[in-house]
């Protein structure tokens, strides 16, 4: 039962549709007592300040941090990826979850990054990561959809992919998966990725 964090913000419905298409069971989680041991997804499409405020108000911030340290799989998408870092420049500066060492900054000159870019993930390079499913299809390659104005800068992770423009596309560190793009809106590639990681 996949846990989708729902604090009244974020594109929860789109994530549900994404999981539905792969026949996965899920539930919305709005309070600490509802979380199960399965994957936790932190969705995107919101601002860091308000999202962190609501996570703290419900105690979900500490719960997610604690569960991540036990090895529970956490997937952050877009904003969900950005708040896994220590700090975000958004909303005048926001302290985030600090699960991934690094910070989230505005893209140079406050430009935005909208559209499709290439994606490539070779699961054979992550063969020691028990959180990546052992599937017959080892490589997911195609294009993915980005729509953001802040970028993640990480200090170190075991597997990071950057685009030509320096934007961190995704990062995988043991049980932590962060995607700057929207896999739920990345058509075939997003669906193949889902089946590799959940």
């Amino acid at each position: 039962m996949v846990n989708i964090i729902d604090v009244g913000l974020g594109n929860v419905r789109s994530i549900e549709h994404w999981l539905d298409r792969s026949n996965l069971f899920y539930k919305r989680v709005s309070e600490v007592t509802s979380i199960t041991e399965d994957v936790i997804i932190i969705p995107g499409v919101a601002s860091a300040g308000e999202y962190m405020y609501r996570l703290k108000k419900t105690g979900l911030d500490k719960e997610i941090i604690e569960r991540s340290s036990w090895g529970q799989k956490i997937i952050g998408i877009c904003l969900g990826f950005q708040i896994l870092t220590d700090y975000s420049e958004e909303d005048g500066g926001t302290k985030c979850l600090g699960i991934l060492k690094g910070s989230t900054k505005y893209i140079d000159e406050h430009k935005t990054h909208n559209g499709w870019d290439a994606f490539h993930l070779d699961a054979r390079k992550l063969s020691e990561n028990l959180h990546v499913k052992k599937k017959r299809k080892k490589i997911v390659s195609g294009r993915v959809y980005f729509n953001h104005e802040l970028r993640v800068e990480l200090e170190c992770t075991s597997h990071v992919s950057q685009l030509d423009n320096g934007i961190t596309s995704f990062a995988i560190q043991d049980n932590i998966f962060g995607f700057q793009f929207h896999p739920e809106k990345s058509q075939k590639t997003g669906q193949e990725l889902l089946e590799l990681i959940i």
């Binding site: 419905r13 990054h113 559209g115 499709w116 423009n165 929207h182 809106k185």
Partner: protein, 233 residues
């Protein structure tokens, strides 16, 4: 960042996908869910789903947006037409879309634009600019249902409030007679943040790509498979 080839999908008050010709005549394309599923299967780069809103009447947009949220698609979605202060809270509480498209608020409601931007981010803001060229450039204002001349200041407001603009050649809409590129003589907005729509030929799409535009939004030709999205990329 690649050039985007999207599709404009108009929706009537009964929740049907419709096609518009010359900003005037309408033809029903079919049930919204089926139309969206086709576009999703064709893997267009994005879908601009707009409830045409002319005048001050209620377009029933909230009900249509609610219906849209139930449809599972894996293609990026922008919605517009009838986003107001009354429904913005509900719409953005659980967004099933990535971007919001505005027309009348460009002229008369900066507060709504700011509110949406604060929730969804600058990257989500798209200005819909249907235009005609009648000696000078005239831009459509949906609340009055009139194409009107604009002041230079509008371009500054557009640049600060919107990430992208969607220029629709109203006279060419629904046809294949070509987009009126003369409009660029009048535009004061960064070219790499402009999408064009209306009357697009394959040559127009190539021209837009060479000009460095952000992308195009094709109307019924992608739905009818007359234009292969894959071949246009």
């Amino acid at each position: 960042m690649s050039f985007r080839i999207g599709t404009t999908l108009l929706i009537d008050s009964n929740g049907n996908g419709i096609q518009s010709y010359g900003f005037n005549k309408k033809r029903i394309l079919g049930d919204l869910q089926k139309v969206l599923k086709f576009l999703d299967a064709y893997e267009v780069d994005e879908i601009h789903a707009i409830v045409p809103f002319k005048g001050k009447g209620d377009s029933g947009s909230s009900k249509i947006f609610s219906h849209l949220s139930e449809i599972s698609i894996s293609t990026p979605l922008s919605i517009g037409g009838g986003i107001t202060e009354r429904n913005i809270g509900k719409i953005t509480k659980d967004p099933f879309f990535e971007r919001c498209i505005f027309n009348s608020a460009i002229f008369d409601n900066p507060e709504l634009l700011q509110k949406t931007k604060s929730i969804m981010g600058h990257q989500s803001m798209v200005a819909s600019i249907p235009f005609i060229i009648d000696d000078n450039l005239k831009i459509y204002y949906s609340k009055t249902n009139i194409f009107q001349a604009i002041k230079d200041e509008l371009w500054k407001d557009l640049e600060s409030n919107f990430n992208e603009v969607l220029l629709l050649d109203a006279n060419a809409e629904g046809g294949k007679n070509g987009f009126n590129f003369q409009v660029f003589k009048h535009i004061k907005f960064p070219i790499d943040r402009i999408l064009i729509s209306g009357g697009l030929t394959k040559g127009d799409i190539n021209k837009a790509k060479k000009m460095g535009l952000a992308g195009v939004s094709i109307d019924n030709f992608s739905l009818h498979s007359e234009y292969s999205i894959e071949a246009l990329r």
